[in-house]
Amino acid sequence: MTAARTILAGAASALVLALAGCNDGGAKFDRNSQIGPDPVLPAPQQYLVPPIHVAEVVGWGANETPTAPAGLRVQALARDLNHPRNMLALPNGDVLVVESQGPNLDPITRPKNPIVSWVQKRATGQSGAKPKGATNQITLLRDADGDGVPELRTVLLGHLNSPFGVVFADGYLYVAATDAVLRYPYALGQTRITAAPVRLTELPGGPIDHHWTKSLTLSPDGTLLYATVGSNSNITENGMEAEKNRAAVWEIDRATGRSRVFASGLRNPNSPNFYPGTNTLWVVANERDELGPNLVPDYLTSVREGGFYGWPYSYYGQHVDPRVMPQRPDLVARAIPPDYALSSHVAALGLTFYTGSSLPAKYRGGALIGEHGSWDRDELNGYKVIFVPFTNARPSAKPQDFLSGFLTADGSKVRGRPVGVTVDRTGAVLVADDAGNVVWRVSAPR
């Protein structure tokens, strides 16, 4: 019996050592070295148990707001929303808020799946807090006097299939649900849409729908739509057939719905935006997980027609991912490194270029990026909105915090998580906070 005990204890401690020993990766790594055009990329690490750190979502107290740079004012444009993820400021000043939750279509193919999805749901605040109302809808906020307090709040459109992107053009509202771009006739000022939509273009939305957010923008000439379609896995573990036409930016003809893949190899691209005054499309993208806390940095990049940006075969150009088989040296050879790294696992989801004029002049033409925040590294990363200065339509300096305080001071709890960012008619910046269930408005006092 003593022999058995000794062996059991030995085996248990060996196991603990094996699990813990592979979990270091924490030696102080300078996150700033992964921000900008030429990030430091450490060697990939593979784990027995990858680092996971999610903080409890506690939400915002009535008088709490995130923190903006000195001189700017932060107000809640709307509270008690249900997972607001994206917004559209209409030309008449109305603001549309897309409230959305994922379709939860990921099959259980391995024992790991339910565990990981539980962790991720916890990080999003979807497991604890019960939904207070309907989600998967678009809410209209009308703040006619521009004081940041809407006089009208009403549901414009309900019962959507995990919507994310929304665009207005020529009397139509285009909504990117997770499985299709829908077109609704819409007159500015209208507060309820009852007309049935036209399914303009089918998008990959199942049976597996891992990265489900389909975001949308309009070309500068107004004839084309660009939709982002994220990958169907972390790194092809659902099979390559599930990745057809995914990890890509689609170009869609607004009149006919005809579509093609415009650029590919972008693992989870979101919030496409043309740089103002140019024909250059930019996106933020979330890179792959489980290669270490400091791999692979998420990024902001311009997107070239026909460009291939690496996923799944490689990252940042020719850094081959050993987890993908068969490999494709032909594609790796032409993989384009992204323009501007944002550091690892920040989960950049929102992007807008500041086109207003009411904030201080330094913001004009720069990028505002919503970083939803990490779950798969020990030290939380992201959980803020950053500002990246641009000069000559290119990122030109290190980012500055634009909206922070989404974590409690000790970093142990999450108040909210920023997603979509947009600019309203008055030049104020709006930020959708899907864990705090708030739309924040950052303005310069008049």
């Binding site: 019996m1 058995a4 196991l15 391995r110 972390n234 099979g239």
Partner: protein, 160 residues
């Protein structure tokens, strides 16, 4: 399981070494061991199929087989340890201790293997996962042989 009354204990030194974990007089350990053996050998085969095809369904088979092997192997280990602890003469049989040590080693290796197989993509199997599967199956061959000796030679659990 059998009652463990004083008269039972007194009877132990007579006849063959007794199994303690029993159901209606049949030792449980031999009923449970085929599960982990088949699962871990199956996982080696599906690992090899993945090595040859890079088709993810095979690596998915592997992790389910390893998981099932660990669950049933845990029960087999429990009943085995009860038998080992329950009769001095079982412990005295020469193959008993190596049989237990090797099987517990396989169990630990397969726990590590489950984590390796939970990685995403090719490196969930090649090379570490496949290597651990090969080592486990080789060790299982030895410990199964020793387990056979315990019954067929040392008559552990055989009715006197």
């Amino acid at each position: 399981m059998s009652a463990n009354t004083p008269s039972d204990r007194a009877a132990r030194d007579e006849g063959n070494p007794r199994s303690t974990a029993k159901l209606f007089g049949h030792p449980l350990h031999p009923m449970l061991v085929p599960f982990p053996i088949v699962c871990f050998i199956g996982a080696l085969i599906t690992d090899l199929a993945y090595l040859g095809s890079a088709n993810v369904q095979w690596s998915n088979f592997s992790i389910w087989l390893i998981t099932a092997g660990l669950v049933m192997g845990g029960l087999a280990a429990l009943t085995g340890i009860i038998d080992y602890a329950g009769d001095r003469r079982v412990r005295a049989a020469r193959p008993a201790t190596p049989h237990m040590i090797i099987n517990l080693s396989v169990f630990v290796i397969e726990i590590v293997n489950a984590f390796v197989h939970s990685r995403d993509g090719w490196t969930s199997v090649v090379p570490t996962g496949l290597t651990l599967s090969v080592i486990s199956v080789l060790l299982l061959g030895i410990s199964a042989w020793l387990g056979g000796s315990l019954v067929y030679k040392h008559r552990v659990g055989v009715r006197s």
